[in-house]
């Protein structure tokens, strides 16, 4: 055997695949050739080190992460199949619970396309609660929309005063502000806080002052109300409409969100 033959046979020798004659010839050459002897020893050293790699263990969490990934994969494929309406998914059901989840998800996400069908499939209690919620919503919104939330006369006057106070006094005529304060005093005098000892003449003056207020300030009052109404709008919608809208969203959330959580 020469060095080239040694080179071809070394692997078979290490794995014990040479017959007796070949092995004898191989070993004779190794004993005679120092370089081949060293090559054999080095190869044995490397393979010994590789055997040590056999002790490497998989990380402890590997099996769990594989199972988690697998479950996600199964869920994903099942969900895609059910969304496509494939009947294969029922035949090839892998885990019944998972399939039920997929079906529930399908119902949950499918109701947007056909809400009536979804509603009819629901539990009777859910139907009752949903109907009750809708009725409450209608009644509440009707009451809110029909309620006249106009401020009382005193509040109106206070608002007038406030608005006057906010405006620049230099721009307002002095007489006008005096008239308003007179009229306010007259208005207040109509209420039980009226001070005792007011004469009939004073009453007449008060009545005259009230008439004067009604005529002159009606325009201003209507303007103020218009301003107030405009101020109470957000994005062109009145406060009360916003309240109804938010109430509606709240009711729908109460109905839908618990179902979603339960299914997840």
């Amino acid at each position: 055997m020469n060095c080239n033959e040694f080179d071809e046979k070394i692997s078979l020798y290490i794995d014990g695949k040479l017959n007796k004659d070949e092995e004898k010839s191989f070993l004779d050459h190794v004993n005679d050739c120092r370089q081949c002897f060293r090559a054999l020893e080095n190869t044995k050293g490397i393979l010994g080190s590789l055997e040590d790699l056999n002790n490497i263990k998989a990380p402890e969490d590997l099996s769990k992460s594989i199972i988690n990934a697998l479950e996600m994969e199964v869920m994903k494929s099942k969900y895609e199949k059910t969304r496509k309406g494939s009947e294969e998914s029922t035949e090839n059901s892998i885990v019944e619970d998972e399939y039920e989840n997929v079906q529930k998800n399908r119902e949950f996400y499918g109701y947007r396309k056909n809400p009536r069908q979804w509603f009819l499939k629901q539990n009777p209690w859910i139907k009752k609660v949903s109907l009750a919620a809708v009725l409450i919503l209608i009644v509440t919104s009707t009451v809110i929309l029909n309620t006249d939330w106009a401020p009382s006369p005193i509040q109106e006057d206070m608002m007038v005063m406030d608005s006057d106070g906010e405006s620049d006094p230099e721009e307002r005529p002095v007489e006008e502000s005096e008239e308003i304060s007179d009229s306010v005093e007259n208005e207040i005098s109509e209420y039980p806080q009226r001070q005792p000892g007011i004469t009939a003449m004073e009453d007449e003056e008060t009545a005259f002052g009230e008439d004067s207020y009604s005529r002159e300030d009606q325009v201003e009052e209507s303007e103020l109300r218009t301003m107030e109404t405009e101020e109470s709008k957000i994005l062109g919608v009145k406060y009360r409409e916003w309240i109804v809208l938010l109430l509606g969203i709240g009711v729908i959330t109460v109905i839908v969100v618990p179902r979603k959580n339960r299914k997840n």
């Binding site: 078979l12 090559a39 040590d52 998989a58």
Partner: protein
Amino acid sequence: MNIEEAKLIKESQQGSIKSFEQLILRYQDQAYRTAYGMLGNPEDAKDATQESFIKIYKSLKNFKFQSNFSTWMYRIVHNTCLDIIRKQKRRKEIPMETKNNLNNNGYEIPLKDLSDGPEALLEYEFVKKEIKKCIVELPAEYQGVIILRDIENLSYEEIAKVLNISEGTVKSRLNRGRKQLRQRLTDLLKEH
């Protein structure tokens, strides 16, 4: 293949993830080692093992019990690792023909002998680390046979089945792969 393993495979084929988990626990070390040998780092090896087992589960219906489950598993792990290597394109292959003469090197690779003291052990550990690097850098065709034979201790016949090649090809690839590994390692140690 024993009866218990066949039962687990059949149950897994019918969709039992619990049974498949048992199969994972049996074979995850082998799969991880193979992936680790081919990819060279624990993170990639973990990902490759996970991907391989998902592939195994998905294609378990096609397993006809005509070979060992382990052979089939090794094949899928090996192919998955090859795909990852191709994607990463980070392989730095050693030229197929080695320029240096194998027998001209003067370096002796230390054998594992704890009686030689801590220095020898440290050197041995260093060599082991370098060997891992060298395996990762080997051409894929040699890498597979070396890992399956010298780490996983599979027979030539099993390797041939895993890689779908003849036993003769296994022998020749193994011989050339070991030679390249030895050459590469001695070069590295000389530089060191």
